[in-house]
Symmetry: C2
Subunit: 501 residues, 2 copies
């Protein structure tokens, strides 16, 4: 191994260890920490975050990156050492470009605006939230200027979550996809087929929900000797190393869908982290390539696999055995349809596979408009409602079901939403890639076997961790740049059949 890169690696290991320690403290805070622990936990996390930042942005790190850059010139760019040096440089530049005063202002604002948002949302009082939203936008502009960009400010925001991806690229994709989605939503609405999700809304024993979720996740290949599942109010996945990747779940005893699909979703994230190459362990490369690529893995296992007919042909009998009183008499097809209903609705997080991306496109348009000033904060709720009408044909009765539903903008987090839609689109592109290589995959799923699919993902996505930017990773894995075709075809085939379109 290269000498200077080795020194850089050792320095970064300290930063990685501090960040992982902070992640353990964060996990504990959400799972088991007693209420009294909150104040000190805040101090502990602040210390870890500060030290991590100080050590990473120190002159010594800059010096080691300089040396490593010289050294890796002679190495192939696809080598781990070259990738490590590249990513360290990118992270270093990002971390040092934003002045400490802006970082402080951003976190102060996030805390204050969050409190305002909680109250505004509770009372559906958008005017109360307007000043906070305005400030979020202003700070995002400042952040974009500090980070720097070539074409437009939004590029800088997006690049935080999707390295190398441009606003123009996302806009193209969304603009091409949107009319097809709107058309599909309208076709479903006009279909004579009506489906009912009532069977999911019964009482389901939480212990049994947990058992079934864990059974499927294990079958998928989520390794519980290197992971675990706990309960939290909001489900999430978190990693402390590739060999300690945990998920959390919220169980709703009156709704089976919530815990079940969220377990499959988080397991998808977890398998990605567990599958990162062992040679990347302990470096900043040992994580997902981007939020979008990460989301593609969770969506693939949640939706493309987990809401497919072959999947339930295998697992439905087990589900019936687990809940004989609830599902014993319900045919598989009824259940399959219940988990695949398409229905425009107000809340993004509850949206189905077809309407979900329209919720995101709305937010993307609004972020661009707010950032360039064409949508003043004070008018944002009206614009929101108009776009909902235009995209989904429904109009929120109040701002709680409209613009106030998401936490992101209160935290000043513009540029984040797009990654959800990119994840959905990519999930189909990756799955199509796997299917081309192994046409037997659906048959294997029908047998409850997932190894071929998982191995393909492992070989083409997981093991690279954060070595490549998303565009590079996507093209190498699937042979083409990011494209909507597989996604559109997936939706049309699946919902065309379901709704007899």
């Amino acid at each position: 191994m290269a000498n200077d890169v080795q020194r850089l690696r050792e320095r970064l290991a300290t930063v990685v260890n501090l960040d992982h320690a902070a992640a353990v403290l964060g996990w504990d805070q959400q799972t088991y920490m007693p209420p009294g622990g909150a104040r000190a936990r805040g101090e502990q996390l602040a210390t870890l975050t500060r030290l991590s930042h100080e050590i990473f942005t120190d002159q010594e790190t800059a010096h080691l990156i300089d040396l490593a850059e010289q050294e890796v010139r002679s190495l192939p760019p696809e080598s781990v050492d070259a990738a490590l040096t590249r990513v360290a440089r990118r992270d270093y530049d990002k971390a040092t470009r934003v002045p400490a005063s802006l970082v402080a202002e951003l976190s102060r604002h996030a805390v204050e605006a969050h409190a305002v948002w909680v109250q505004a949302r509770e009372t559906a009082d958008f005017p109360m939230f307007v000043p906070s939203l305005q400030r979020s936008v202003e700070l995002s502009r400042e952040l974009a200027e500090a980070l720097g960009y070539e074409d437009q400010p939004y590029d800088a925001l997006l690049d935080q979550f999707e390295p190398g991806m441009k606003t123009a690229q996302v806009r193209d994709i969304f603009t091409t996809l949107r009319p097809h989605l709107i058309e599909l939503v309208q076709a479903v609405a006009s279909s004579p087929v009506k489906m009912d999700a009532g069977i999911l809304h019964q009482e389901f024993d939480e212990g049994k929900q947990e058992h079934v979720g864990r059974l499927i996740a294990t079958r998928y290949g989520y390794d519980f000797t290197r992971g675990r599942q706990d309960r939290t109010v909001h489900p999430f996945e978190t990693s402390f190393s590739r060999d300690d990747v945990r998920i959390t779940t919220r169980f709703d005893k009156d709704f089976l869908g919530s815990s079940l699909f969220s377990t499959l979703h988080e397991s998808g994230h977890a398998m990605y982290e567990q599958g990162v190459g062992e040679d990347l362990e302990g470096t900043p490369l040992a994580q997902g390539a981007s939020l979008g690529v990460h989301e593609s893995q969770s969506r693939l296992w949640e939706n493309i696999v987990g809401r497919s007919r072959p999947f339930w042909e295998y697992f439905y009998p087990t589900l019936q055995e687990t809940f004989p009183e609830r599902l014993g008499q319900v045919p598989m097809e009824t259940f399959y349809r219940a988990v695949n209903i398409v229905q425009p609705s107000f809340i993004r997080t509850e949206a189905d596979e077809v309407t979900y991306n329209l919720h995101i496109m709305l937010r993307f348009e609004m972020e661009l408009g707010m950032l360039d000033g064409s949508i003043p904060a004070v008018d944002a709720n009206r614009v929101w409602d108009d776009l909902m009408d235009q995209y989904l044909g429904i109009r929120p009765p109040n701002d709680r079901l409209g613009i106030l539903q998401d936490v992101h903008w209160s935290g000043g987090m513009l540029g984040y939403f797009s990654t959800y839609a990119l994840g959905n689109i990519l999930s189909a592109q990756f799955y199509a890639g796997a299917l081309r290589a192994h046409p037997s995959i659906p048959d294997e799923i029908r047998q409850g076997e997932f190894a071929t699919l998982r191995h393909w993902l492992s070989e083409h996505v997981y093991r690279y961790g954060r070595m490549d930017e998303p565009n590079t990773l996507i093209e190498r894995a699937t042979g083409s740049p990011l494209t909507i075709e597989p996604y559109l075809q997936y939706l049309r085939t699946k919902f065309g059949e379901l709704y007899r379109l």
Copy 2:
């Protein structure tokens, strides 16, 4: 607040936060971490420990301590600022006196010797362990020289765990107490009274064991909104702040005594940590005064309260209701006697209140002898067996039940054992102090009320945290220096009555 002390306090807060973060990671490691997480966890803990040490032993800390020392000259020595400066100085000197090479050698040795000890213990093969023991003694000598001492090397080792306490003081106390204990053990052996613990060795539902333990701990005053209880192989108490103090328990479904008394024991430790003054939070003063004082609090609640007749007069009906099939027909007095049997035995951790300290005195004698060379490592098992015979009248049939039973010496940890005996002795001294102030305490215990006792401890022990050295704390709280009288009187009264001596 003094300015320079405030700067010192801020610097120490970083160290405290790192140490508490490490404690969270340690807790997670023992409770919930999946097996795969071990390797990375080791790295994370090493990073936190290293940074904590680096920051604490930095020139800047030394400089701030110097400034603070000047500043607190004008303050009363019992002020928090003065205490903080004093303790920071003591810790700094200790941390900087031991050369990094010796620290590294000690931890390397601890890892290696531990592995040897595990194997030697399993096969009762003392000769296999001799070289490790020898090395532990040599390193302890080096450590003592590095730490420095006035009278004898053992002082330096003891001072790590009992600041300010001298070997001569401990030796006096042990020498005075020993013949009385031996006499008491012999008197019990000759007593016609025979007691039987059989009722404790039945099957007890683990969930119910947990419920009862938690009920008593809550009644004691262990605040679960600032604490929690989890399961581990070896029970312990750990704190991440005074408002997040956790205990762990091991449940044995075939033995009620294990979980029950260990829960009361760890709750005693926990109440101490929860009771540290709020003004000490976030400083190195927010912990127990010493291991011995800490142990006095666990032993007080476990034994002096938790194995007393008034206590069970109140709680036994609840215990019977919890386990009606096991205890419904068993009279309270039978149960009370079962949890108070005195019987010489080989294993320290299973020893009763009367014999326990003799196990410790044996170890104390051996540590002194090994350290001054009068007991060569190669003969240590024979000396052990002879002392067992002399103190307890029994001879271990093998070294597994003898010298190989404890982990401490493999880790090079000489000087630690004494703190257990000091804790026992002190538990009675503190209790006697509380009783003098509030003679109603036993009657309150009979009503399941513990507030008066807890408040006395809180006022005289808990709230001071680590502000004072043990000898100062003891004298202020009880009006006399460390003494064996209350302890001896407690044992004689309790077991005299039980065994009709």
